[in-house]
Symmetry: C3
Subunit: 344 residues, 3 copies
């Protein structure tokens, strides 16, 4: 399919700068632009590439001020990244969707199945499972007894959902993610061994949640581990038993949240962040990558860093001084010399 | 099933405070207690909930001193958490167990199989495998050639065990865990490329070990990577080649241990801890979350923190001063001014 | 099979010290040496074991100077570790290789298959896939539509490769690794929800790459996430969308690289390292374990540590002073007392 700059601008409610008949049939990164492709510029780090790009059309922010001549046709929009994402969604939706139930899947007679399903090869749907309309279960997925999956949700290859867990509508669970494994609970006994504390709770995932590849969400000891509506988890994240994460919180890869901790709405955690158990994090809190959180964060919207973490600005100042500790010590030694001289 | 407070107290060798005829049929968290349910209170952080809980019965420690009136019936026991765990085990054992060998599993004729097995759909049992009585292999498990699995062990969906590894009795291996992948060994050659060092060893897991979801335990280069009796590993942990972890050591999620390191008995590691290779950790050592260990720890039972880690108390003091570095610098600057004045 | 010291020395172009007729039939670690086995000594940490080892033959570096009498026969070579690795490769190649295509695999009619394949049980090869000669797909592997896999590559049990990804020749992908899951991209909308940015790019893995167990390599938003020739990734690593890693870079377990970051050739990263997105790392850079990289590293070959990281030597000096901060404060307090005395 071919699209002109004029058509793209109309779809995005933007304006054309250059040739409105410039035509594209594919997408490329601005730094790898080829004639006949569409690119975008949102992150200022990439501005340098727009002056040389071979892309035929570039979507830019309305307030973008070129420093040099640009040969590509520009489409100016309110938010270049969002507009580009909207085009990608359009492109993505035009691709054929997997459908049909494989004869090589095993589906229990007791399962309740919606319409328009895709169930891939070697997928297992266990007893008393309920699956909504349009659900896609890729090959080699395991759905345990009494699991519920809401309409339009996608489980990519190899996802495992333990018994009794609930996944809402329009969720995406990526390959290798494990939903509902046992929480990590052991009680020491008289012989100084550990005995397993059975984990009889479950996991509840609400609508529009995305879970990354090989991420693990443990079931609750009792009650439920809960991911609320719109939560987005990246790959290789660990969510402990009885954790609750409120709406639209976004967590980057390899972070871990220990048991019974509660996280508010609209938080953003960087990668490799760790939270201890049994604490509460207020809404809107931002945590820098690799930070460790060891106590309640009560102030909404603050930014924190460090292990253990404290406020971002003070952390940055302390860390700068940490780097300069050799100089600081030199300053102290010099002072000592001066004081000794004065004493004589 | 319904249970009275009197019956529960008898089972737990505890005492009733309140109505011995109070009856429960389910379990709930104390902060979400409902009439007809049983809760427990062990962590003092949750004491505030006991005064308002709707739970009919609450198990508490013998020495618990209420600060206000409590409407629930109490069952006082020596250790509330352990007692509650014992009840959960009872509850858990009453659930029906998966059994039978699926026609959709592939089991080699050369495999030696015990009695009372569960082998789920699309599970592969390769050549010369030995499986003990009562073993449960959930769907989509892979058991490589010459693997041995002891009686009563459970492999959850999608677990992969490479050839030649040994898993003891009464172990639980959670979904997605990989046992026996190659250790990370490469030797640089003349062309500045790396050539693989074949990993011809294996993994030995002794009895009563639990391995969390998506955790990986690499096989040894030569000899064996060993998890001794009672070791408990949480999710997403990395155990490198030729590592040995001694009895009853417990490691939280996302920690990693590099090749050939030896860890003693009864250690406790927090989450996201990292250990370099070829070191020895004494028994009973506790390592705070996110710490990095770069050398032998010889003193048994010490608590360490930091990256690189040192003793917990000194680390805490240093970190407090790190937070106060801006003040410390101000103090130094003030001293400099005073000394300059004195010199004039 | 039995091998004499003379034969081993001839194969390795080394020299025998001791009995040239000493014979071995197996391999052991030097600290667990048994009669009739071959060991090696490369790491000086293990020298103490050579004086008591029961191994019949030990491969050592040409310049090794024993401090005591050794009963084993020595084979002196230029590089003991490399020579031992070469022997292991010989040993490994002598083992029978899996072969044949299982009737319990599902392979699309549209797939193009090379010769001498191994395709295990419950493996799925989707539409328009291209697979080179000698490829080994272990059981329960998923190969999505339009994937290409080069000759001699091994995919261990349960590997999942999403549609459109390319894997080169002679690669090894370990169990549970996920190639081509969606990048983590969301754009906030007017309702303060996040909308998914479709990830329409792919993953390109060049020849001789090894990917560890449960590692995840995300597909690009547009274009490709690229692992160049000879890259070695350990277990549980996260490679974000549009990342590019240049030739022969080696990364230890549980490290993570955020979206669009570019890493040079011959780098070495320790375990649990994190890199933010959109940065460039020069060739030959070494990063200490648990470090966090928040900006471009332009100097080739430097060694860095810390979170955020800076040069290794200065980091070590700052960290030593961090440990001594209580003393430093005491020094400052003492100075204050002296200055106060002087003022009087």
């Amino acid at each position: 399919m071919n699209f002109t700059a004029a058509l793209i601008a109309e779809f995005l409610k933007g304006s054309v700068e250059g040739n409105p008949e410039a035509t594209v049939s594919d997408i490329s990164k601005i730094e790898e632009g080829k004639p006949g492709t569409l690119s975008f510029l949102a992150n200022p780090k990439y501005e340098k590439f727009i002056y040389d790009t071979q892309s035929s059309i570039v979507i830019v922010n309305a307030d973008f001020q070129p420093q040099k001549k640009i040969s590509a046709t520009l489409v100016r929009v309110k938010n270049a990244y969002e507009s580009f994402a909207a085009l990608l969604r359009l492109y993505d939706q035009s691709k054929p969707k997997k459908s049909g139930v494989s004869k090589m899947a095993v589906i229990s007679d007791t399962a309740s199945l919606g319409k328009d399903l895709y169930v891939g090869e070697f997928t297992v749907v266990s007893e008393n499972v309920s699956i909504g309309d349009g659900v896609q279960l890729y090959p080699q997925v395991y759905v345990g007894d009494h699991v519920k999956i809401g309409e339009g949700t996608i489980l990519h290859p190899g996802v495992k959902v333990y018994e009794g867990c609930k996944i809402g509508a329009h969720c995406v669970i990526h390959a290798g993610a494990i939903i509902g494994g046992d929480g990590f609970g052991f009680a020491p006994n008289q012989d100084n061994n550990y005995e397993k504390v059975p984990q009889v709770g479950k996991v509840i995932i609400e609508d529009h949640v995305e879970v990354g590849a090989n991420t693990t969400v443990d079931r609750a000891t009792i009650g439920a581990t809960i991911l609320r509506k719109g939560v987005k988890l990246d790959n290789l994240i660990m969510i402990g038993h009885n954790v609750e994460i409120d709406e639209n919180t976004v967590i980057a890869a390899q972070s871990g949240i220990s048991g019974s901790t509660k996280v508010g709405k609209n938080c953003m955690f960087g990668g490799q962040v760790g939270l201890i158990g049994h604490i509460n994090i207020a809404s809107g809190v931002k945590i820098a990558a690799q930070s460790g959180i060891s106590k309640d964060i009560k102030e909404e919207g603050i930014v924190i860093q460090g292990s253990p973490a404290f406020e971002f600005g003070p952390y940055q100042r302390s860390y700068l001084l940490f780097r300069n500790l050799p100089k600081l010590r030199e300053q102290i030694n010099e002072l000592e010399r001066k004081v000794e001289q004065l004493k004589q």
